[in-house]
């Protein structure tokens, strides 16, 4: 593995991007840049990169362990040639301008040579006080590294606590202690800066009502994560700090320090706490017992992300998590039991309830720390009123200073998927300060020469990850290994903890070398996510990457059979036998490559499509925009103003003009896609274009899907029947065009969640709460005396939108909650509209006369388009017909089908700002693929044995891609660079003359043998 402190000269001195902050966002931005062959320096003030995410136990909405999902990215970081990582480093000065900055960096002494340190842990064992420790509840963390997959994989000494440096040096067998390490300063030319420092978490100790930091059993959300985490202070055992016992009743209190106006509060919504509280409650019941009572006290349940509403429904309906709509005033600790009592009011009951809990989790949100405020000063960027970075109204990654870009929580509160999107967007923007076409550079890792294992008897190493509790909590790994050892050709069978951590990978490498293994079986996660990582490992030790089998012990075993550990154990033994038996037959294979088309196809000419196209075209990529409508602009054409007050029409027109004038963009309006073929990097798409529907074919290497969504218009609440019932979009136009009509309105009723969060469209449309606030405030501006009633289920003005919600309340807009069971009714009598609804606080039905009823109808997926394109391009969709990205958390703009990227409302409902960000991200991700210049087709291709071939033509006729032909020798020939690797020919060949490499018949039969071995 390449060490991360490569010498300065390895990178070109100028034209590099400085990424500040090594959390998931910073890592994503740095990797995107490095993959696009741009030089990057990633700095972090901590001694290991990874940021906040590495401290989380599991993350929503997949509820998997973060270490496993983030670690592939981290070690990827250590590998990338264009990426340099400097931990313990901060920026102290930035001079110059975009494209030619001079950055002064200060690196704190680590007192350890990362090149030499093997992280054996001897220093930590003997001088625990001298090594830096895991943050969290307990200072005596099991390891001094922040998490087992730490990058760089080395210790860090806190010299202030070292009393005997000579003794410390003596315990280090690697001679890695640098006693006289000093603070160093470097001045470096950088072209642009990406700021991704995240934010701090609110410390509830400043509040006197919840006992945060005072009561043993009151913890913050993050502390609760640490308690549950396998790498946390209690090794993943959920216990109370006061008595070490498992709590039976846990409560979460939402919005602690957020959405408030009291001492210590901030007015904005932290955006992620509803989801993390739901997750923590679900994981609690799932892992520690469904008899644990879990209760969430909340004001509004803000599950506005993609499919998050479904997650909330699952938490409530399947996991039976109790949801109480109330913001408790305080927590009282019972002296002897250290239990906590909470007094709260129920919406529909006039009296207060008091209830005792064993443990209370405070859902605290984000705060900008002092360091970050100072850093903003060093960078010279403006801050918003809450000290987050002030950004461009239509481009959230642009700061006030050209050449300085921002992403992640420091831009505004957000979760991991949105951080990943914004990070890719910021990386794409940072590239604009660099010269257009980077020089071709050799990119491939140089792996050692492969050992020739042909003819050798299998010597197999079996390595099983316990993956913390994910696998080890369900299976008896030792027994599993004992079962593996029965096979005489299994030379080594070991448990490797987190197999994907640097430490375990290094261990596995060492064991392969020591034992001269020639086949490897990994029992752990799905090969879909982790195969590449272990294939790389094999290559590093000189083994062909196809000599490994990944056995899916987690996703397809412990996760599904967690409640029946005996069965899971039994299945694990069998699955491992399948892997062992299969790997014996694995053969070394060679990957095939082809040059890639450098064109891009953008489907959809709305704001998202145009933004993506411009970004690609600016980087010299020939880009085609295919738009079904006669003109560009999409849904944004029907929006007049953003909530920030920006004129959307002017903005869209600007984009249209830029697109039309761009030399690298060809716009095809009135065009539909009619056929598609090829492979990632070499696509061919047929288009019928223009009024006469002429056919043309486009070659392209990547495709960006920006087909948008549709404004929903359900026939509910009298929409389409009563003339004064309209949608928020129509109100938006009315506000611009007919102020007099607005002024004439005495009362306006807005109804939220119309056609959303209902069985037929189960998710939240995300944009409607802010749209309602936008229009309510504009009505108030034009006509202050107009009374506005907003009937809502949960107000979801996430992030800084909360400010508009507060302002609306200040201006007297009335908010009345309703439930699906008691939904409002719109009636018309004598040409006058009235809305009937139930007021939960008054506990009575009320009637509101309305001059106008405005329905927040949100968006629905463009079912027909996503279905057609989904079929044509072979892309998966969600149950509500949006396109489904490859990984909801870590690859939010990449599609499962390589070469396809997703942006805008075709992904899920979102605002213009958010769509633009995702468009930039998609363009950036597309560039990382185009930068590779050639495509790796893998080795899974059909191979003909000419001696067996009967030239029967079956393969020629069966191949879905017309690849096989009968060659001059009179036998079938299948060119590896054309074969798609489906294996249909192999399955049909009557002479069994065709084998699909990596899935040969003897390999499949061997797997069956393994399964039925006894």
């Amino acid at each position: 593995m390449q060490k991360n402190n490569s010498s300065e000269n390895a990178l070109s001195p100028d034209r590099r991007v400085l990424v500040i902050g090594g959390g998931v966002g910073g890592i994503r931005a740095a990797l995107d840049l490095a993959e696009s062959r741009r030089d990057v320096l990633l700095i972090d003030k901590s001694y290991a990169i990874g940021g906040l995410m590495t401290q989380l136990d599991r993350t929503f909405p997949t509820n998997n362990c973060d270490l496993c999902t983030v670690s592939p990215y981290l070690s990827q970081g250590a590998r990338e040639r264009h990426l340099e990582i400097k931990p313990m480093t901060s920026l102290t000065k930035l001079e110059g301008e975009a494209g030619a900055f001079s950055a002064t960096l200060v690196t704190e002494p680590r007192y350890i040579d990362t090149d030499k340190c093997t992280a054996c842990g001897e220093c930590a064992k003997q001088f625990p006080e001298a090594v830096r420790v895991t943050p969290g509840l307990d200072p005596r963390a099991p390891t001094c590294m922040r998490y087992p997959q730490a990058t760089p994989f080395a210790f860090s000494i806190d010299m202030a606590n070292v009393t005997d440096i000579a003794a410390l040096k003596k315990v280090c067998r690697a001679d890695a202690i640098l006693a006289d390490d000093t603070r160093s300063e470097t001045v470096m030319d950088v072209a642009s800066v990406v700021l991704c420092v995240g934010a701090d978490l609110f410390d509830p100790a400043v509040l006197d009502n919840y006992g945060g930091g005072k009561f043993d059993n009151v913890v913050t959300g993050l502390e609760y994560e640490r308690i549950m985490s396998a790498s946390g202070p209690f090794q993943g055992n959920l216990v109370r700090k006061s008595d070490g016992r498992r709590p039976k009743k846990v409560a979460w209190i939402q919005c602690v320090g957020s959405r408030g106006i009291n001492k210590g509060d901030v007015p904005y919504c932290s955006g992620v706490c509803c989801m993390y509280a739901l997750k923590e409650a679900m994981v609690t019941r799932e892992r520690f017992g469904d008899d644990i009572d879990t209760t969430i006290f909340f004001m509004d349940m803000r599950t506005y992300g993609k499919d998050y509403e479904l997650y909330f429904n699952r938490a409530r309906d399947e996991y039976k998590i109790r949801m109480i709509r109330s913001r408790p005033h305080s927590i009282v600790e019972t002296a002897d039991t250290k239990n906590l009592s909470i007094t709260y009011a129920l919406e529909d009951k006039p009296v207060q309830e008091t209830e005792e809990f064993d443990m209370v989790v405070l859902s605290t949100g984000f705060r900008v720390g002092e360091d970050t405020k100072n850093l903003a000063g060093v960078l010279g960027i403006d801050r918003n009123p809450y000290d987050f970075a002030a950004t461009h109204p239509f481009n959230p990654v642009l700061t006030s200073k050209p050449g300085v870009y921002v992403c992640g929580v420091i831009e505004s509160p957000k979760d991991i998927p949105e951080t990943m999107v914004q990070a890719s967007a910021a990386a794409a923007m940072a590239v604009t300060d660099l010269p257009v076409v980077p020089k071709d550079r050799e990119m491939d890792d140089i792996f050692p020469l492969e050992r020739d294992v042909r003819g050798q008897d299998p010597k197999i190493g079996v390595f099983v990850c316990d993956c913390g509790f994910e696998i080890g909590g369900v299976l008896d790994v030792d027994k599993l290994l004992a079962a593996a050892k029965i096979h005489p050709d299994v030379a080594v069978a070991r448990a490797v903890g987190y197999g994907c951590s640097s430490e375990s990978m290094a261990n596995i490498e060492a064991m392969i070398k020591e034992n001269n293994l020639n086949r490897v079986v990994i029992g752990g996660c799905s090969p879909r996510t982790h195969e590449t990582k272990f294939q790389d490992l094999l290559q590093r030790v000189g083994l062909n990457k196809y000599l490994v089998e990944i056995v899916n012990l987690r996703d397809q075993n412990t996760w599904t059979h967690m409640n029946t550990p005996d069965r899971a154990q039994n299945k694990a033994v069998k699955l491992l036998n399948v892997g062992i038996s299969g790997v014996r037959k694995n053969r070394p294979l060679v990957d095939h490559t082809l040059p890639m088309s450098q064109n891009a196809l953008v489907v959809g000419g709305g704001v998202t499509g145009m933004t993506a196209a411009l970004k690609l075209a600016d980087q010299g990529v020939k880009t085609y925009i295919v738009e079904r409508a006669p003109a560009l602009g999409g849904l944004a054409r029907s929006i007049r103003k953003t909530i920030e007050g920006e004129d959307v029409g002017v903005f869209v027109q600007g984009l249209v003009e830029k697109v039309a004038a761009h030399d690298n963009i060809q716009v095809l309006t009135r065009s539909i896609i009619v056929d598609h073929s090829g492979m990632p990097g070499l696509f061919k798409t047929g288009i019928q274009t223009g009024v006469r529907m002429n056919y043309m074919q486009i070659d392209h290497g990547v495709t960006v899907l920006a087909t948008g969504a549709m404004a929903n218009r359900p026939a509910q609440y009298g929409l389409g029947t009563f003339p004064d019932v309209m949608t928020q979009l129509e109100m938006d136009s009315l506000l611009e065009d007919d102020a007099a009509r607005i002024q004439a309105m005495e009362q306006v009723v807005m109804i939220q969640c119309v056609g959303s969060r209902e069985p037929e469209n189960p998710n939240c449309s995300r944009i409607c709460c802010q749209a309602a606030m936008k229009n309510a405030l504009r009505i108030k501006e034009i006509s202050p005396d107009t009374q506005i009633y907003v009937l809502y289920r949960d107000m979801r003005t996430y992030g800084f939108q909360e400010e508009y919600y507060r302002k609306a309340r200040d201006l007297g807009v009335k908010f009345i909650r309703f439930s699906l069971e008691m939904r409002p009714k719109v009636v018309e009598t004598d040409n006058m509209l009235a809305v009937h609804t139930h007021d939960f606080i008054l506990d009575s039905d009320i009637e509101i006369a309305a001059d106008c009823v405005v329905l927040s109808t949100g968006l629905i997926a463009d079912d027909e388009t996503t279905e057609d394109l989904g079929l044509m391009f072979h892309l998966p969709r969600t149950i509500d017909n949006y396109f489904l990205e490859d990984h909801v958390k870590l690859r939010p703009v990449d599609m499962a089908q390589r070469g396809f990227f997703l942006a805008g409302t075709a992904h899920s409902p979102k605002t213009i700002r958010e769509s633009i960000t995702q468009a930039q991200a998609a363009a950036g991700r597309a560039q990382t693929l185009l930068a590779k210049k050639e495509i790796n087709l893998g080795a899974c291709v059909a191979k003909v044995d000419p001696d067996k071939c009967a030239s029967c033509l079956v393969c020629v006729r069966a191949c879905p891609f017309d690849v096989p032909f009968i060659n001059a020798e009179g036998v079938s020939q299948i060119d590896a660079d054309k074969c798609h690797g489906c294996g249909v020919c192999a399955g049909d060949c009557p002479a069994k003359a065709i084998q699909l490499l990596a899935y040969e018949d003897d390999q499949i039969l061997a797997k069956l043998d393994g399964l039925f071995e006894r």
Binding site: T62, N64, N557, T560, T564, C982, G983, L1008, L1011
Partner: protein
């Protein structure tokens, strides 16, 4: 027969069914552990012989899980798989075995629920059929050899 735990092999295509199985895992949806998955790039790769061999080696039931009709990553591999499953059903019928012991199912990558449901249904079918005819006569060890 009450406690009969069938051995079931599911040949799953990488792009849809295998992904759906992973999805079932990440949603913690349980299904019978009797089902063991063998991953193939496309169900079009699954040869009739693989299905027969699975039964021969000791499976009580075998199914092939591919993409939805029209959704195959490789155009029509799932249709080819269906045809082969049908052929094996015919052979089994001729041999006097229950053709229900082999099946073809289709699902998309996002359908974790469907994967689990299919696994449950197929396991139930096989449980009702009882052990493979090849195991009834006490030569189970032969079946596995």
């Amino acid at each position: 027969m009450e406690n009969f735990e069938p051995e079931i092999v599911a040949f799953c295509c990488h792009y849809c069914a295998y992904t759906a199985a992973d999805m079932a895992g990440s949603k913690r949806i349980s299904y019978p552990s009797n089902v063991k998955i063998i991953r193939v790039p496309c169900t079009g790769k699954v040869d009739a012989i693989h299905l027969m061999k699975a039964l021969e080696k000791g499976a009580d039931g075998v199914y092939v899980a591919g993409c939805l009709a029209g959704d195959c990553h490789f155009k029509n591999g799932n249709l080819r798989a269906q045809a082969r499953v049908d052929r094996v059903k015919k052979i089994l019928t001729e041999l006097g075995w229950e053709p229900e012991r082999v099946a073809m199912v289709n699902m998309s990558a996002g359908m974790g629920e469907k994967f689990a449901e299919t696994a449950r249904e197929f396991t139930e079918t096989i449980k009702k059929l009882g052990p493979s005819p090849g195991k009834l006569t006490g030569n189970e060890s032969k079946a596995a050899s």
